[in-house]
């Protein structure tokens, strides 16, 4: 060990910080990498499930990245996808069981989507693209970063859907009753999945308007 030259990087070096901040904007898993769209449509009707889903996904990406990165030199290449799946599935079931035990209401709302984290493309994508070729700490940060990027988008979409669809935010009524009396109605369309897709589309549009480099030629 001591013979190896250990050029230690600071834990939060600029390079490592980029792993966290990159996915928030320029390398966002949903709007730029176009991964994990379907769960983003399903769990964004209200803010609370969106936040919990984002946290659950962040925990799973971070720890599966960490574990796969720790094991990366021992994983036989021929069965690496299976190994990755076993690790991801184990973590997801753990998260699901914990939600069922401690935040039952939210787990009911998320229903099958927690289980579907297993098939969320963000996780497998990051494992293959990053964790298999990088050291554990950067891999862990990459998982956190992508989880945050996913969560950020989820929360933005859920904000608009809950506000316009139910008139509430985190289940608190924010649109005053007087407005309803004046003839305002909640937009039922916002509750349905197609509007989530349109909302994401609008976000992609706004993002590319401000970041011209993202526009494909």
């Amino acid at each position: 060990m001591s013979t190896k030259k250990t050029e230690r990087e600071a834990i939060f070096s600029p390079k490592n910080m980029k792993l966290i901040t990159g996915p928030l904007n320029m390398n966002n898993p949903i709007t730029v990498q176009v991964l994990g769209i379907c769960s983003a449509l399903a769990v964004t009707v209200k803010m609370k499930p969106a936040i919990v889903m984002a946290l659950a996904l962040m925990v799973v990406t971070a720890f599966s990245n960490l574990l796969v990165s720790l094991l990366r030199n021992g994983i036989p290449a021929r069965i690496r996808i299976i190994v990755q799946l076993v690790i991801v599935a184990t973590l997801v079931i753990l998260v699901d069981q914990l939600l069922k035990a401690f935040i039952f209401d939210v787990s009911k709302q998320l229903s099958v989507y927690v289980g579907l984290i297993i098939t969320n493309c963000i996780i497998m994508g990051r494992l293959e693209a990053f964790a298999m070729a990088n050291k554990p700490w950067p891999a862990f940060l990459d998982g956190i970063g992508n989880g945050l990027g996913y969560g950020l988008l989820l929360i933005i979409v859920a904000f608009f859907r809950e506000l316009l669809g139910s008139g509430t935010l985190l289940n608190y009524q924010v649109i005053p009753q007087s407005l309803y009396k004046a003839g305002y109605v909640n937009n039922g369309m916002m509750i349905l999945p197609p509007m989530a897709l349109i909302t994401i589309g609008v976000i992609i549009w706004v993002q590319r308007y401000y970041n011209r480099t993202l526009i494909e030629k």
Partner: protein
């Protein structure tokens, strides 16, 4: 390059470790999860009896306060088991799995039915649990009746996978509150159940409106499921109701 032997060993060890971890987690978390399911069931029962302030922390005390008796009935309406002890959530009637009983019923085997009796503000309320099928999956609920078994005190509905915003609306107070004060018997004493009426009860003759509620727009099949569930559940209890009202 790895040998086949290495690959097999690797896979076996990985799977065994994962399995051990998951079984451990399942065992440790089971008591918490079962408690959540109990609370969920209790909230449904209380909500139909118009005790709506039950949340995770006070559901069990409230249940013990309001429920006075839990019965198990056979299809002929005879009482098989009466439970008045505390804690109420340990009653055999409460532990009865309606899904299994309805399965036995559909296969013409003997089955039993739970019935909850509550005391609220000096009045006796009978609470009948129900289970049926919606459009995409199971739906369930409870219907609470006054002591003469005629008037509805309240209902509660739940679903597994009805379309949010359409069929999923059956579990909103707006839909549920329509049932309050409706009757399941007509003036001649014949069983009528309560119908969820497409297009609204305005379409019914005036004397029928007391047995109907407005259907949800865009959710015809879920509404049909609610209809069938109410009719089937109430019908199974008719022998008991007829002999006690």
């Amino acid at each position: 390059m790895y040998t086949n032997r290495y690959i097999f060993t690797y896979a076996a060890v990985l799977v065994i470790v994962a399995a051990a971890l998951l079984s451990l987690a399942a065992m440790l978390l089971k008591p918490f999860q079962e408690r959540n399911l109990t609370i969920e069931k209790i909230r449904g029962i209380l909500s139909s009896a118009q005790v709506t302030q039950a949340d995770a922390s006070n559901a069990i005390p409230l249940f013990n306060k309001y429920i006075v008796k839990e019965l198990i009935l056979n299809p002929k309406g005879n009482i098989l088991d009466t439970y008045t002890k505390s804690p109420k959530e340990n009653a055999p009637a409460f532990k009865l799995d309606l899904k299994k009983e309805y399965y036995k019923k559909s296969h013409n085997k003997p089955y039993s039915l739970p019935l909850y009796i509550a005391q609220k503000d000096g009045k006796t309320i009978y609470i009948i649990p129900m289970r049926g099928t919606g459009l995409w999956g199971p739906i369930w609920g409870n219907i609470a009746l006054t002591s003469n078994f005629k008037t509805v005190v309240g209902v509660f509905f739940g679903d597994e996978s009805e379309t949010p915003g359409l069929g999923g609306e059956i579990k909103t107070p707006k839909f549920e509150n329509q049932f309050i004060g409706k009757t399941i018997f007509n003036d001649q004493g014949h069983f009528t159940s309560i119908k969820v009426v497409k297009g609204g009860i305005i379409k019914l003759p005036a004397n029928q409106r007391i047995h109907g509620v407005d259907a949800l727009s865009g959710a015809t099949l879920t509404s049909n499921g609610v209809n069938a569930m109410l009719r089937d559940a109430l019908k199974s209890y008719l022998p008991y109701i007829e002999s006690h009202r």
